[in-house]
């Protein structure tokens, strides 16, 4: 049984700049893998190689049991891509865009209404894309990525800059695609999105994978779980942070809450961004 994607020792350089430097990863069917990293970390370049737009300088790519670049077109017929840039044809309507791309996949006379309804574009489907908002274009891009019922979805910053309603709609689509059995590679620098959606996350920095695991495991391995307790004390506010992994943490918590004037109790755990900074020494917005 093949993994949906198997990548080994992938390398790519833009001139003298090494954008991807020895990336190896496997993605299973139905899995959502979050690719986390700041701008310029090598996320998009990796995706471009996996979707056949760039040829790697070194390394091997196997997608659905087929190899690149030998079987690129066969692979492309079974994947869907949604890029960060809203690159659809502006002079066509949303429906015409879908029809155009569907024909490139050899799909004719497909009823796009269920797709368009699913992302809330059915009422504007026949309007020119140039009149669409950024969120509508992104939802159209998502729809376009799914016209061939792909077995793998490559999504590059799919909710970047979207309003909360559009972002929620896009996330719902991503989850339902994974439940259908599609492998999803999600590149993002939004740690919350990666945390919410991903089964595993890969931290990519300076072209290398710095860590690869489930969000929970990363937090357990690298983060410190704690409870922050605030209470009124002598006209001021006292705050205690108790590490849950410390010996006697239970007693400390009991003592801290057994006071008059207790105000708030918050459990705290490391965020993916904290862990990324710990592992790489740089932030995700860098």
């Amino acid at each position: 049984m093949h993994a949906a994607i198997e990548v080994k020792d992938l390398e790519f350089s833009y001139g003298d700049i090494k954008a991807v430097d020895g990336v190896s990863v496997e993605v299973a069917k139905g899995e959502i893998l979050g690719f986390l990293g700041p701008n310029g970390a090598g996320k998009s370049t990796t995706i471009k190689m996996l979707t056949g737009q760039l040829r790697p300088d070194a390394g091997s790519i196997s997608v659905l049991g087929m190899t690149m670049p030998e079987q690129t077109v066969d692979i492309q017929a079974r994947i869907g891509v949604c890029f960060e840039e809203k690159n659809v044809y502006e002079n066509m309507s949303g429906r015409e865009n879908l029809d155009f791309f569907a024909r490139l996949y050899g799909i004719k006379h497909k009823d796009f209404d269920p797709f368009l309804r699913n992302v809330g574009l059915i009422d504007r489907a026949d309007d020119r894309v140039s009149t669409y908002s950024k969120g509508m274009r992104q939802r159209l891009m998502m729809t376009r990525a799914m016209i061939n019922d792909p077995e793998i979805l490559f999504l590059d910053e799919p909710t970047d800059g979207l309003d909360p309603v559009s972002a929620r709609a896009v996330r719902a689509v991503i989850k339902s695609e994974a439940e259908r059995g599609a492998a999803v590679i999600l590149t993002t620098h939004d740690m919350n999105e990666a945390d919410q959606l991903s089964d595993r996350v890969a931290f990519i920095n300076e072209g290398r994978i710095a860590a690869l695991d489930t969000p929970e495991n990363l937090k357990l391995k690298h983060g410190q779980r704690s409870v922050r307790i605030r209470s009124r004390s002598g006209g001021g506010v006292e705050e205690q942070v108790i590490a849950l992994d410390d010996a006697g943490a239970g007693d400390q918590i009991r003592r801290a809450v057994d006071v008059e004037g207790l105000m708030t109790i918050h459990t705290e755990e490391a965020t993916l961004e904290n862990i990324f900074i710990e592992l790489t020494g740089r932030g995700l917005d860098a």
Partner: protein
């Protein structure tokens, strides 16, 4: 049109999406070339019909066959320029290179065709200009020079063919 065909797609950032679809880069170039052929043919037919109507209205004595021959060569010449522009676009990915490169080559070859014959020793070199195969046979008077049309179309296929490996190998700008 040739310049916009590929470099324009790169500028508008639609090329990446196109190339992530299950079509080869060669097919993209060849279908764009097909569109140029159709476009040039439509312009040629329009030119013929317009000229024919003008002749009929003005009562000018001009052979309809000559107008048709000139229109056919115009189409072939248009296809050549479109192919040249497409090739530069495929190789560079920059619309300005394709546009100004084609205009530059067009101007140089026009002046070569127009002025080299002034000097007897250089006159033969004028045959290297594509204008020689477009207008050199005086199609309005002498009718269609099939050989010239074939040379223009052959050159078109040659430059598109040369551009294919360049487009196949290079990275997209965007």
């Amino acid at each position: 049109m040739g310049a916009r065909a590929l470099a324009g797609e790169e500028r508008q950032r639609t090329m990446g999406l196109l190339l992530a679809s299950p079509i080869t880069r060669r097919r993209v170039v060849l279908e764009k070339f097909g569109a140029i052929v159709v476009h040039a043919s439509v312009v040629g037919v329009g030119t013929f019909v317009g000229t024919w109507a003008g002749i009929a209205i003005a009562g000018v004595e001009l052979s309809l066959g000559g107008v048709a021959a000139a229109s056919v060569l115009l189409v072939c010449f248009g296809i050549f320029l479109g192919a040249l522009s497409l090739a530069l676009s495929a190789a560079s990915g920059i619309a300005a290179v394709a546009t100004y490169g084609t205009v530059g080559i067009g101007l140089v070859s026009y002046f070569a065709w127009a002025f080299l014959p002034v000097n007897e020793r250089l006159a033969d070199w004028a045959q290297l200009s594509p204008f020689h195969y477009f207008l050199g046979s005086e199609p309005l008077v002498n009718g269609l020079a099939w050989g010239d049309a074939a040379i223009l179309l052959g050159l078109s296929l040659l430059v598109v063919g040369i551009s294919l490996p360049f487009f196949d190998r290079r990275d997209l700008h965007r």
